[in-house]
């Protein structure tokens, strides 16, 4: 297998470990024969977490399926920045139909492959959080309930970015969006609203549900490859920062993703058939303010003690609920 030479000058990052691993344990992205399914030349913004997440996920799925993969894509940033006619950044068979029907389209593709005796061809549906948790939610639930042989990947950047950063049901409390502006006594998005789609997916009893984050490539790839080793309805939700919508530096995309996990705000876990089987432990817990302060969408919360406390409470609840900190302290 062709591979890149190990260089030892990369210190202080989580990625250096990859280069020191045995070749067979390296990430798909580290191999030179990765499929580059989402190729260069697309028109995503600088530092786009969704472009990163989609590339990681689809390349991993391609390796897991021996390149026998078809993707259905919901309307949204990912669709728009990858396929400005007549160009396409996709090197896999890829289809966009509508905003709210990607799960159904994927069901249809999977049915076609089954009826034609091509079960080796596997199907992914993908979309942003708006297309997944809001407008496509009925279709998603239908696909889950029928246990159709589809992996749905939601790239969660916590708002409608393609239309100009409006609130979705995945927008966290306190966040500024174009429709939850930081004005009044309770600025930003309301607390105690929104949907936790991974938990709702689990309630369908489907074979596999996982959350992942673009800051940890190994984990994300492993979850996608595991999902592709299984059949039936599967769901992975990937945390993908959006510099434009969140008011963050493009260079901070991976850092923000890491802080979301390390603060407890974005719990990473895996579930099979409705039961959580593993969660990613927090290595070094950070206060939520570390995560919030490098995003302008949360700037007002740092000046509002009550809001800051509520966001910290969300993180702390996640830590308790998903067992993100090992009580033994080892």
């Amino acid at each position: 297998m062709p591979h890149q030479q190990v260089k030892f000058y990369q210190t202080g990052t989580l990625t250096v470990g990859n280069r020191l691993l045995d070749e067979t344990q390296r990430t798909v992205q580290a191999t030179m024969d990765r499929s580059n399914s989402l190729d260069s030349g697309h028109r995503a913004c600088q530092g786009c977490g969704e472009a990163l997440g989609a590339r990681y996920a689809i390349d991993a799925a391609m390796r897991a399926t021996n390149n026998q993969l078809i993707a259905a894509n919901a309307t949204g940033c990912l669709e728009v920045f990858t396929t400005p006619y007549p160009e396409s950044a996709w090197r896999i068979p890829w289809m966009h139909s509508l905003f709210g029907n990607a799960p159904s389209v994927a069901t249809g593709i999977a049915a076609a492959m089954r009826v034609k005796g091509r079960e080796n061809v596997r199907v992914i549906a993908q979309g942003g959080d708006g297309g997944t948790t809001d407008i496509g939610f009925g279709a998603l639930s239908g696909m889950f309930e029928r246990n159709d042989d589809v992996l749905y990947i939601c790239y969660d950047n916590q708002a409608y970015m393609n239309t100009g950063v409006q609130r979705s049901s995945a927008t966290p409390g306190g966040a500024r969006t174009a429709t939850t502006m930081p004005v009044g006594t309770e600025p930003g998005a309301d607390f105690d609203k929104g949907k936790n789609v991974p938990l709702i997916a689990m309630a369908h009893g489907i074979p596999y549900v996982a959350t992942a984050s673009v800051d940890r490539l190994h984990d994300l790839e492993a979850k996608v490859e595991k999902a592709m080793s299984m059949h039936g309805a599967r769901y992975i939700q990937v945390f993908v920062p959006c510099p434009l919508g969140w008011g963050s530096k493009p260079a901070d995309t991976v850092k923000i993703a890491r802080l979301a996990v390390e603060s407890g705000l974005y719990p990473l876990f895996e579930a099979e058939y409705g039961e959580i089987i593993a969660s990613t432990k927090i290595r070094r817990k950070v206060p939520v303010s570390e995560y919030l302060k490098i995003q302008r969408r949360f700037a007002h919360t740092l000046k509002n003690e009550a809001q800051l406390a509520r966001i910290q409470a969300v993180a702390d609840q996640h830590i308790r609920r998903f067992g993100l900190i090992d009580e033994q302290g080892d």
């Binding site: 993969l69 078809i70 996709w90 068979p93 890829w94 289809m95 139909s97 709210g100 076609a112 009925g138």
Partner: protein, 418 residues
Amino acid sequence: MLKQIEGSHGIAEAVAMCRPEVICAYPITPQTHIVEDLGAMVKSGNLSKCEFINVESEFAALSVAIGSSAAGARSYTATASQGLLYMAEAVYNASGLGLPIVMTVGNRAIGAPINIWNDQSDSMSMRDAGWIQLFAETNQEALDLHIQAFRIAETLSIPVMVCVDGFILTHAFERMDIPEQAQVDQFLPPFEPRQVLDPDEPISLGAMVGPEAFTEVRYLAHHKQMQALELIPEIADDFKHIFGRDSGGLISSYRTEDAETIIVTLGSVIGTIADVIDSMRDAGHKIGAVTLRCYRPFPTAALREALKDCQRVVVFEKCLAVGMGGIVASNVRMSTRGFTTPVYTVIGGLGGRPITCQSLKQLFEKAVQDALDETTFLDIKCDIVERELAREKDHSRPGAAAENILRDAGVVDAAKTA
């Protein structure tokens, strides 16, 4: 083989003989029996190599068909009324993507007020969605049109909607000639998709198109429908050659030779209209009818030819363009432009109101004397309308119109005393 069966069952048998590979089912009256029958055929193995999928909505039904068709499978679904509206976004999408899906619409009114009975408002709401629309006169033709629909759709790579009057056809038991599988196989070759999602040859389908090319893409959709004007009669000829029956085509004529008055309509009502024409012919009136078997593309030239020698045209339609009048009539006028022939609009059968020979006879007798208003609502109860209008004038809060009218019509009182 001749069978005495329900229209829906005949349609299901025809669809099954077309060897669909993916069928999406969501229940809505009055099309439900069709997908029920198909589901049973898949379960029993009588329809093999077919995935039957129970989906959660009509939007999903057509979306699943979009996915399966794009992946190269012959795909079918059926809907009606609110269901067609609920899938509207996908209706436009399927044609825009050039996917040869066949869909039955069991024609039914659109609410509010909710109404499950027959008219053609649902199909008419999608007349400009880029689908070919065929309308069946009889259950035999409904069966035949489905077989032709797959061939038309796949030849042009655009979807076809087969419109069948709800209840009047879907639920009527009639004698139908069920073709042999070998005949259908001879008529309908296996589906060779024009474009297909395949890992061996990756394509991107459904890209964004901006102002630089959108007009051309839309024009091509129109151009394809114009091609269909030639293809549909050819396929009907081929159908006749193999099955020995006249079915399909663009229009059909009934006693239009030397006709001074021509009724233009579509769907099953031609049966009643033909009976009235027969009796009026007996009384010496030169009257005939033309049925539009294909509504999209609109057979402008064929209809113009059929209407060129008559003295008046009466368009009888089971739909209403609120705020304008007739939907079909305004299309028919495109065919008669330049003629001095008056085109009268008659709206009838809305929400399943029976269309009786007696009412039609009175209507046509007025028509032959040119005594019709430009737009007529057949059998409208004017007194009830007047009462509601008066109520609205006299009261600042007159209440909901539909409920008031039901009360005035005596339906509510009748229910109380029952």
